[in-house]
């Protein structure tokens, strides 16, 4: 699953443009990271990455966690995503996002995600989202 998932992330043009890399994937959990890139800066005076780029990483990682559910169809779309920004990411640091799909119904998957930089004790951002889901019928 890991190899296919890694290739799949690499095949998404926007994920590739931001340099995203799939680090870990398992049932309902994904880790994706993104290198520091000056093109993604939102505040030129400080060199801090734009919140929108962090959102893109968290959306991709959350979606990957849903796709990695073994009881789902392997595809999903974001219904909604809320991101809370705790602090600016440190310029120069790689940003890593870990997402868990912690609950699914027949048609919805619920996810939470955390993004950190190299100071892993203090989150940069957290996210919660709802994604489309289509649970496999265990009786069929």
């Amino acid at each position: 699953m890991e190899k296919i998932a890694r290739q799949m992330i690499a095949a998404l043009p926007f994920a590739r443009a931001l340099g995203m890399q799939l680090d870990e994937i398992e049932h309902g959990r994904a880790v994706i990271s993104m290198p520091y890139d000056e093109r993604l800066v939102g505040e030129p005076r400080t060199g801090v990455i734009h919140g929108g780029a962090v959102s893109a990483l968290m959306d991709t990682c959350s979606g990957a966690a849903v796709m990695a559910r073994t009881d789902g169809p392997g595809v999903t779309a974001t219904i909604d995503l809320r991101i809370d920004y705790m602090r600016p990411a440190r310029p120069g640091d790689r940003i890593r996002c870990e997402a868990f799909c912690y609950h699914t119904t027949r048609s919805v998957a619920f996810v939470r995600a955390t993004a950190t930089d190299e100071d892993t004790d203090r989150p940069v951002a957290t996210a919660v989202g709802a994604f489309t889901f289509d649970k496999k019928d265990p009786t069929s």
Binding site: V41, G42, R45, G52, S55, I79
Partner: protein, 168 residues
């Protein structure tokens, strides 16, 4: 008889466009996404021209949710930053001629941002407008709507809270 004549329209326009330009083009991520802003008076419309690298699902194809979320967040921050700058210029607190890439006005910081994905983002140009619903001394609440071919059919909307930049 000595009443000051209003400035020629071209002078006013150029001054405002210059200020907006400095605000927008100082941000590398906005250039990376190719987003530009059309201005009519104080109203801004953000435009994200279609680019192959904005695609998330190459099979459909559809815009990446992250590209859409970024577009909305950029629109919200510039919309709010512009409303602050506009006020400062009109009240004479900021001299637009003195605004340079080195002294660009500070932008608001995102506290939280919630994106509602209503429809698939099509492989076409996207447009968005921000509405500042509340702009206090410290906090602001901004709503953004994005559409493509048809203004009445939003494909995404978002609400965000922002920390206002320190004044002066």
């Amino acid at each position: 008889m000595n009443a000051k004549r209003p400035e020629p329209v071209q002078v006013i326009k150029e001054r405002r466009d210059r200020a907006l330009n400095v605000l927008v083009h100082g941000v590398p991520y906005i250039n990376f996404l190719g987003i530009r802003f059309d201005r009519k008076g104080d109203e801004l419309t953000a435009v994200m021209p279609y680019a192959e690298r904005h695609i998330g699902n190459p099979v459909l194809p559809a815009l990446h949710g992250g590209a859409t979320a970024s577009f909305l967040e950029v629109t919200a921050i510039i919309g709010l930053g512009w409303s602050i700058l506009w006020e400062e210029i009109e009240q004479g607190e900021v001299d637009p001629a003195a605004i340079s890439p080195e002294s660009i006005p500070r932008l608001p910081k995102t506290i939280d941002f919630t994106v509602d994905f209503l429809r698939t983002g099509l492989p076409r140009d996207a447009y968005a407008r921000a509405r500042v619903n509340r702009s206090g001394r410290r906090y602001a609440s901004v709503h953004v709507e994005a559409w493509q071919d048809n203004r009445e059919r939003m494909f995404a909307q978002a609400t965000g809270h922002f920390l206002m930049p320190p004044r002066g």
